[in-house]
């Protein structure tokens, strides 16, 4: 009864838009690899395997009409990274965009960092609505004018023109990562950011490209002794000296950059003791953390492992304050998920604007909303079938075993090729962006 209508949170989610091609034939390059709102929520950026960044802008003209308020339209598209080849190591470097992070706005232009496996780039996205007119030696269309007829000098003047959005690369931060970059995070001091790969975390100044400081290095002297890798890293939203990084062993280390220049020694270690009854061959794989995100308040952080989402109070290291099962029904299917490599999927997670709900993805194009105060949760689906304008999303249920009820989906009929790894929540409003393979769905709260 409680879940009638809107479900777990008292928000009713309805379809708003879907971006991307409709046909089933998916080009590899079109697969979305990251989704990120900017700090105001007015812009939404996606990166794909083809190295492109697409930025959508919220339609401001119709903002007064509540039913249309969240229409996002393409604002700018640009090729951020190109495929490269490392001749020294004989390695191809994919153009796939691993992460996008927006910088806090500093002037009329917008700035974002985008990264592939090796190279981070700072992009400026700016508008231009004027262009200069008037030459001395030629006409506006390029025809040369007779230079002997010049009797007076003309100074060009700026005239209004149609709005043009330009994306220009401002900085390229290269050659600092031996392994694959999995995270970038901008510091609250607005002048530095970190980048993390499998074994190291580097600290950069946003204006300096030729050097970075290595602040964490977990590479053992002998690579055969390697037992864990860094899976994600993020700066605290307010404390400029604090950052965390998660590991494949399910631990999260918090470091204080004030204590020393090298942060090899952590100041806090967040780790939940393993339940011995659940121990299996897959324990270590499924405990690997695929994403870590601080809450907007800076009090909590959320981690995602294969089967669950955990919320940690930064003041308590020995266990999470909240644990949510994302798709517990898969625990019995780990063997086949291991065989088809799905067990290594890296699901991300995100907070809503006031930290009361978290969202993360699952298989079969399902995504989960977990409401914190009342511990209620809901499963929704991003699908073409329910993509009529303002159509309310129906909650989905998976039958974990036993007798399948009406409306329930059996675990065996889940499509593991359809997975939602990347989601984003508007920083203030109830608008979410959900990336299925090559489509971006935008859902919003139903307004009555």
């Amino acid at each position: 009864l409680a879940s009638a209508g809107g479900g777990a949170n008292d928000v009713q989610w309805c379809f708003s838009q879907v971006k991307g091609a409709i046909d089933d034939d998916v080009a590899e390059a079109d697969i979305i690899s990251t989704v990120e709102f900017n700090h105001s929520g007015e812009l939404l950026a996606t990166g794909d395997k083809g190295g492109r960044v697409v930025i959508f802008q919220q339609d401001t003209e119709n903002k007064s009409l509540p039913q249309c308020r969240s229409e996002y339209n393409v604002y700018s598209t640009f090729q951020s990274h190109e495929p490269e080849f490392d001749y020294l190591k004989s390695l191809e470097i994919e153009e796939k965009i691993n992460k996008i992070r927006w910088l806090p706005q500093k002037n009329a232009a917008q700035f974002l960092l985008s990264t592939n496996d090796k190279t981070i780039k700072l992009w400026k996205i700016s508008e231009r609505d004027k262009r200069p007119e008037g030459y001395n030696l030629k006409e506006e269309d390029g025809r040369c004018r007779d230079s002997t007829t010049i009797t007076t000098l003309r100074v060009p003047v700026f005239r209004p023109m149609d709005l043009m959005v330009e994306a220009s690369p401002r900085r390229v931060f290269a050659n600092a990562h031996t392994y694959h970059i999995n995270s970038i995070s901008v510091n609250s001091d607005n002048e530095t950011y970190l980048s993390a790969d499998d074994l190291r975390v580097n600290l950069w100044h946003l204006e300096i490209t030729d050097r970075s400081f290595n602040i964490v290095d977990i590479k053992p002297a002998n690579m055969e002794e390697l037992t864990e890798v860094i899976t994600a890293a993020e700066f605290h939203p307010h404390q400029c000296n604090t950052f965390v990084y998660s590991s494949s062993k399910g631990t999260i280390r918090m470091c204080d950059m004030r204590a020393s220049a090298l942060c090899d020694k952590h100041s806090k270690l967040f780790e939940e003791p393993e339940d011995p009854s659940n121990r299996s061959f897959f324990s270590e794989i499924i405990s690997s953390i695929s994403d870590v995100k601080f809450s907007h308040s800076g009090r909590y952080m959320m981690t995602r492992d294969y089967l669950s989402v955990k919320i940690w109070d930064l003041n308590m290291e020995n266990r999470p304050v909240e644990t949510y099962q994302v798709h517990e029904y898969l625990r019995s299917k780990l063997c086949s998920l291991y065989e088809n490599d799905c067990i290594f999927d890296k699901f991300e997670c995100c907070w809503n604007g006031n930290d009361s709900v978290v969202m993360t993805g699952s298989y079969n194009n399902f995504f989960r909303m977990l409401e914190r105060t009342q511990r209620r949760d809901i499963t929704l689906e991003a699908s073409r079938e329910s993509s009529k304008a303002r159509q309310v999303l129906k909650p989905r249920r998976v039958c974990a075993g036993g007798k399948r009820k009406k409306d329930e989906i059996s675990v065996d009929s889940l499509d593991f090729n359809k997975k939602i790894l990347h989601t984003a929540w508007h920083p203030q409003e109830n608008i979410i962006a959900v990336a299925t393979t090559n489509n971006l769905y935008i859902f919003q709260e139903k307004v009555n």
Binding site: N136, T148, T152, D189, N190, Q239, R258
Partner: protein
């Protein structure tokens, strides 16, 4: 200006103007750099009404173009009609002061500061000060950071009501939401304090300084340390204790190593600013703590300041303070775990000997020098060697030779060729410091031994070293000490050593002069032309080409020419080639 018919003189200017919007950045840049030429041709009025509005809108351009533009506008006053119209330059500079690139903004601020001096007091209040206010209240932090650098130039020249407003704006920016602006304000705090009346320094600046120094972001706090220097200089001695010292003490013990690093880095300036009494009571213990800091970066910064700090201690208690407070810490740093710390110390530690005098140096410092000279890190050793001269002055050459030389000799024979190479590079310096007599006695044999080193890089460096030594000690010394040894190598069974002879002659002929070259070197070279190894023969050809210009024409014709002609018919291709090249270069054909 322009006549009725086409005017040829306008053509180059027309090109320049058109290139202001060329697609090629380099051409735009060239045009911007010749902006004064364009302005001159347009005349002051058209510059004001047409060129400047155009430039105000060009902020979409590349950074380098904007940077050049910001710089040009700083010296544009004459071109817009002199000081009376200088305010026309404000709009373009205002828009440049809000761009995201720091270098461009800084240059725009620099130009604004420059032209502020050309404003009359009235214009300053009517045009300039409103611009500062607009920037200070701007929506984006870029404009607010730019404003921080402009307060100090207008403050001294405006009325007291406007002054009050400026102080208010500065206060607001010091507590801005974004750390970028607070950092900009903190970095200009000292400069702004300098132009304020002393009462306001106490009532306004001190609270701001205290607040910034305890900002939640360490990137802001560390900038307050810099401001501390200027503020302390401005205040009378009796106020320092109450107004500045609590903050400074707090900074020296800050939780963040970056703040402590800044204190260490600015220590000499701080020491001068607070005066001898506070130095004795407060800074000495603070300095000891920094030298013992848990973060290596801080220790290294403090170690760098050891000499300067000691030099600037009040004379009456200098020696006691150094001996009882500083030296014990320094002794610990000599065996620090971090090589950057040791190397920083090694670069200044020798300077202590002049301050402490002969007896203390021999007793306390020499053991430290020796320890550092034997350090495992080459950089540490080199820093010691390159400063030997200051110790030489204090304790004299005899003492030095007995204590330090064995360590240097040991390094000269180090198993790592890079270490040997580094020592060779310091030989000319050492030779200069120690004098010819001492050199002959102790180091000469080393220099000759390097010539037959088994690593080519060492032999090459040794050759070059000989040349530098001859430059120091003169041709006569060369003839007596090194030339015979070099020439004797020409009979060595190892062809590599024979070639070294040739390389040495290449390097030495010029510094040794015509007589030595002709009399002693040339015969050896010519003899080697019949060497059985082709590499030696073609190096003879190359050598002859090199020393040819030093020889007189009779020697060239009578001795060099026949040998080269023989070599030019050599059966080896390379020998032929180089012989022919030498013949043509020396024009002996």
């Amino acid at each position: 200006m322009a006549g009725a018919e086409g005017d040829d003189s306008l053509y180059p200017i027309a090109v320049l103007i058109d290139e202001l919007r060329n697609e090629d950045v380099q051409l735009r840049l060239n045009s911007i750099k010749k902006l004064s030429t364009i302005a001159l041709a347009l005349g002051v009025e058209r510059t004001r009404t047409e060129l400047l509005p155009f430039l105000t809108d060009t902020i979409y351009d590349e950074d380098e173009v904007l940077l050049a533009l910001a710089e040009q506008l700083g010296s544009f006053t004459v071109l817009v009609g002199g000081p009376e119209y200088v305010h026309c330059l404000l709009p373009p500079l205002e828009s440049l002061a809000t761009v995201e690139e720091t270098v461009v903004r800084d240059k725009a601020v620099e130009s604004l500061r420059k032209i502020s001096q050309e404003h009359s007091p009235v214009d300053l209040e009517v045009h300039f000060e409103p611009l500062v206010k607009r920037l200070a209240c701007g929506d984006w932090f870029t404009s607010r950071t730019s404003a921080c650098g402009l307060f100090s130039v207008c403050y001294p020249r405006v009325s007291s009501t406007v002054k009050a407003e400026i102080r208010q704006h500065f206060r607001t920016l010091c507590s801005d939401d974004t750390p970028m602006v607070r950092r900009a304000a903190a970095s200009k705090l000292g400069e702004f304090a300098k132009v304020l009346e002393l009462d306001y320094v106490k009532s306004d600046i001190i609270p701001l300084f205290t607040a910034l120094a305890s900002d939640e972001q360490d990137s802001v706090r560390l900038l307050a340390v810099e401001a501390c220097v200027s503020i302390a200089t401005l205040l009378p001695q009796e106020d320092l204790e109450a107004l500045v010292m609590p903050t400074l003490r707090q900074a020296a013990e800050d939780k963040s190593w970056r703040v402590r690093y800044m204190v260490a880095d600015k220590f000499s300036e701080l020491q001068k600013a607070v005066g001898p009494e506070i130095t004795k009571n407060d800074l000495v213990p603070a300095f000891q703590n920094l030298l013992k800091d848990c973060e290596a970066e801080v220790r290294a910064a403090a170690a760098n300041k050891v000499k300067e700090f000691c030099e600037n201690l009040p004379e009456d208690s200098r020696e006691t303070i150094i001996m009882t407070h500083v030296l014990p810490c320094v002794k610990e740093l000599v065996s620090d775990t971090n090589q950057h710390v040791k190397s920083a110390l090694a670069s200044v530690i020798m300077g202590l000997s002049t301050i402490l005098g002969k007896d203390n140096t021999v007793e306390h410092l020499l053991p430290l020098f020796l320890a550092q000279l034997k350090d495992e890190c080459p950089e540490v050793r080199l820093n010691i060697i390159s400063n030997l001269d200051c110790v030489n002055e204090v304790i004299g050459i005899r003492q030095l030779s007995q204590s330090l030389l064995p360590a240097i000799v040991e390094l000269a024979e180090d198993a790592k060729w890079r270490v040997r190479l580094a020592i060779i590079e310091y030989m000319p310096l050492l030779a200069g410091q120690l004098g010819v007599e001492f050199f002959d006695e102790k180091l000469n044999s080393l220099c000759m031994a390097w010539l037959v080193d088994h690593v080519y890089a060492i032999r090459e460096a040794a050759t070059c070293n000989l040349m530098k030594l001859v430059e120091k000690f003169g041709a006569e010394w060369a003839q007596n000490t090194i030339v015979p040894k070099v020439l004797s190598m020409s009979n060595d069974p190892n062809y590599l050593h024979r070639m070294t002879t040739l390389f040495c002659i290449n390097a030495l002929s010029e510094v040794c002069g015509q007589e030595i070259t002709t009399k002693h070197m040339l015969p050896v070279v010519l003899k080697m032309a019949s060497d059985q190894v082709a590499n030696v023969r073609f190096n003879v050809a190359k050598c002859l080409q090199k020393i040819g210009p030093v020889l007189d024409s009779s020697a060239l014709q009578a001795e060099v020419k026949p040998v080269l002609e023989i070599l030019a018919t050599d059966q080896d291709m390379d020998v032929k080639y180089f012989a022919q090249e030498a013949i043509s270069v020396l024009t002996l054909a």
